[in-house]
């Protein structure tokens, strides 16, 4: 390992641990959120260092980006009556030196055992060679896409299902299904709105590009979907209220179409004697592309809906409070 590279890795490692600890022990929630978002971005760098650009994209966009937005968005409810994380209910973490020492030592010991286990891990060899050998039959050229959408498409399909389940779950948490149209329009701002106008189409384009790229390069449905969601969120922040103005029918189908079509495709070749999620080799490429397009749409819409609904939960409350 060359020195500068090692230095960079070491620095990243240190930063990651410090940020993680910071995110958990920061005195105010705001600092927690900021530390956590920084953590997510630093993690993206780590992914890049580990030759995982797909993961880096996903992490930066979903892990740090979307979740960061949600965290910051909910801060205004949590920091009501003071942002001090410990002010509301006494002490957050034990403050006594003894218990702190015990906790730190315990965590360290646990980490040491786990680290030893990793250090002693036999070389399983992984599935790199096998993936490479089967890549020509997968219909795509990028190995990660091949795994996601062909070899292990069953998992990916279920995972899109998880998004739908999570949407339903968030509906449950909010106590109603669907989106409330706000009583008054949001205060729009010319500068932000013009930025949104500029960025949104560009982001849609980037999403399409990422999607297309996924066939051969890092990128694909998830990353594209998240970029799409980011566009949606920016538009929402600019006061566009796209989701609220969609008909129920439209957003439901939008949310479900990726999952539904994936399922339909998975079974549609079974009459020909192929298995579940098995495509004719010649068609695999185009079919995967179609699946990806629809999945991107659904993912983008779902994540935007997460935000919109989430935002609405707080907004309706603040209205209730002011009344």
């Amino acid at each position: 390992m060359s020195l500068p590279a090692g230095l960079l890795d070491g620095l990243l490692a240190l930063l990651l641990v410090i940020l993680a600890v910071r995110a958990l022990i920061a005195p105010t929630l705001y600092q927690c959120a900021v530390a956590f978002i920084s953590f997510g971005l630093t993690l993206s760098l780590a992914w890049a260092r580990l030759a995982a650009p797909d993961v880096a994209l996903a992490e930066a966009a979903i892990g740090a980006g979307l979740l960061g937005v949600l965290l910051i968005n909910s801060l205004r409810d949590f920091s009501r009556g003071g942002d001090d994380a410990s002010a509301i209910f006494g002490k957050d973490l034990p403050t006594a030196l003894f218990s702190r020492t015990v906790i730190s030592c315990g965590t360290l010991a646990f980490a040491a055992v786990l680290g030893m286990a990793m250090f002693h891990m036999p070389e399983g060899g992984g599935l790199t060679a096998l993936t490479e050998a089967s890549l020509p039959h997968s219909g795509v050229e990028h190995p990660v896409t091949a795994v996601l959408l062909n070899y292990r498409s069953y998992d990916t399909w279920l995972e899109i299902g998880v998004l739908v389940v999570a949407m339903l779950a968030i509906f449950c948490a909010g106590g109603f299904e669907g989106f409330r149209r706000p009583e008054q329009g949001p205060d729009s701002d010319p500068v932000i709105e013009s930025l949104a106008r500029l960025l949104a189409p560009l982001m849609v384009m980037v999403a399409g590009y990422l999607l297309w790229l996924g066939k051969a390069y890092p990128g694909g449905a998830f990353q594209a979907g998240v970029v799409l969601a980011a566009a949606g969120i920016i538009l929402q922040l600019a006061g566009w209220q796209i989701i609220e103005n969609l008909s129920t029918w439209a957003w439901k189908w939008g949310l479900g179409i990726g999952f539904f079509f994936f399922l339909a495709l998975a079974v549609s070749f079974m009459p020909l004697g192929l298995g579940f999620f098995e495509y004719p080799e010649a068609w695999a490429g185009p079919l995967i592309l179609v699946v990806e397009v629809l999945a991107t749409l659904s993912i983008g819409l779902t994540l935007t809906c997460f935000f919109v609904y989430f935002n609405g939960m707080g907004a309706s409350e603040s209205r209730r409070r002011t009344r």
Binding site: L114, G124, Y151, Y154, A173, E177, G178, T248, G256, P271
Partner: protein
Amino acid sequence: MSALWQADNLPVWLVVWPTFGAIVLFLLPARWRGMTGVSFALANGVLALVTVFFVMEVGVLRQEIGGWAPPLGIALALDGLSALFILMTAVVGGVVSVYAKIYFTQVVVDSARSSLFWPLWLFLWAGLHGLYLANDLFNLYVVIEVIGIAAVALAVLSGKTRAMIAGLRYLIAAVAGSLAYLMGVALLYGSTGVLDIDLMAERLEPGLTTRVAIALMLGGLLVKTAVFPLHFWLPPAHSSAEPPVSAILSALVLKGTFFVILRLWTELFGVSLTFMAGQMVGVLGACAVVWGSFQALRQERLKLVVAHSSVAQIGYLFLLFPLITVPATAVAGGFEWAPLAWSGAVYQVLAHGFAKAAFFLAIGVLVMATGNDHKASMLNMVGRLPMTTFAIGLAGVSLIGLPPSGGFLAKWMLLSAIISSGQWWWVPFVLVGSLMTAGYVFMILRLAFAPSQHEAELKSVPRGLQVCALLLAVGAILIAFPAEWVIDLLEGTSTFGEVVRAGAPVNSGEVGP
């Protein structure tokens, strides 16, 4: 079209059908969901019956998804144990669906909220089917998460603050648990380079990494199965949900992760387990039996009694592991108790599934009639709601393990296995657990016979709800009779059965104390 319906595709349909139902229900408007949901549930029942008959005829079935063989692709495996769990899910789920249909249309006014039940429930069902069929560690993680999120969503469906808090606790425990599981999977993948359970079992070698991985996976799954002392999330979550949801959570969702533990323990962990590992899990189970029962005795609210009772009843399941994890020397004389222990635990799953679901549904009726689930609301119920009291009584009989009931058979088999294995130190726990169970069951029933001082007028409860509760309770009794058949199904066709029948000790290495 014949290829589409050929029997090999059965595992696929088991996953596809409820998923399809879930997405259809999601797309439908709220008012059409109830009827459609029940139809899907009943169709699931038919599918489950077909599955069971099929497994009896053909035996273990494997299906590779996407035309890619493991280790690259994912395979589904359907064996006797899966079939049995699928059948239980179908029967309990079917009755609960009918109950939910009546409950949510007649009782809960807020249809926009309560109609969320249906797509979530079908997703949960699909997840359970996926879980029973999974043969791939990462696939298991995904379905566990589907189940986890859907289960928590259902738990908070009532919209009560108490349910929300309990739900959040449940969710965080579940997420932490499944991430611990995933950490174990990562370690195992690093060690073996495969994810398929069968392939990994061939390659896995004992060692520090394997042990830590097993500990993490077990730990994570034990949290999700609510084994003492990791059960803290269960009582509030199960007691604050709507009755049909409580029934689903306790009867099916808990059993899902138990299924995973059972499967991994017998098929994957094998050589890496030591006698002490089995004993430790057994100790947790034994403590759960005593602690859960003790807590149940102390509760003032019926739903909490029943929820704590789940902790205890789950504990019995974990007495299985010390019995099938024994040093090779002890096995030299014969390992004949393993099938007994094994079918005993499975029977406990079935019995508890039926009985606990019946219990929760019956308490739902009670709450509807009296407006609360305080113990005192049971007063003089035997005269006023005889059918529901009877359901509680029958379910209680099965929980205690009195004959003739599924619970009795389960305890019979477990106790026989314990005695023949020579691990007599589990006997007191089984017995004390039974006695304490009797304590809290009859604490409830006793009140049903007692006169009440000022009797409030009962609100009328749809008869269908009472019938549903009674059906499940009668089921908990009746499952005692086809035991021979069930055990045949388990031993004759499942991969577990092969392990057990071969007489091979799960552990080949170290000898315990």
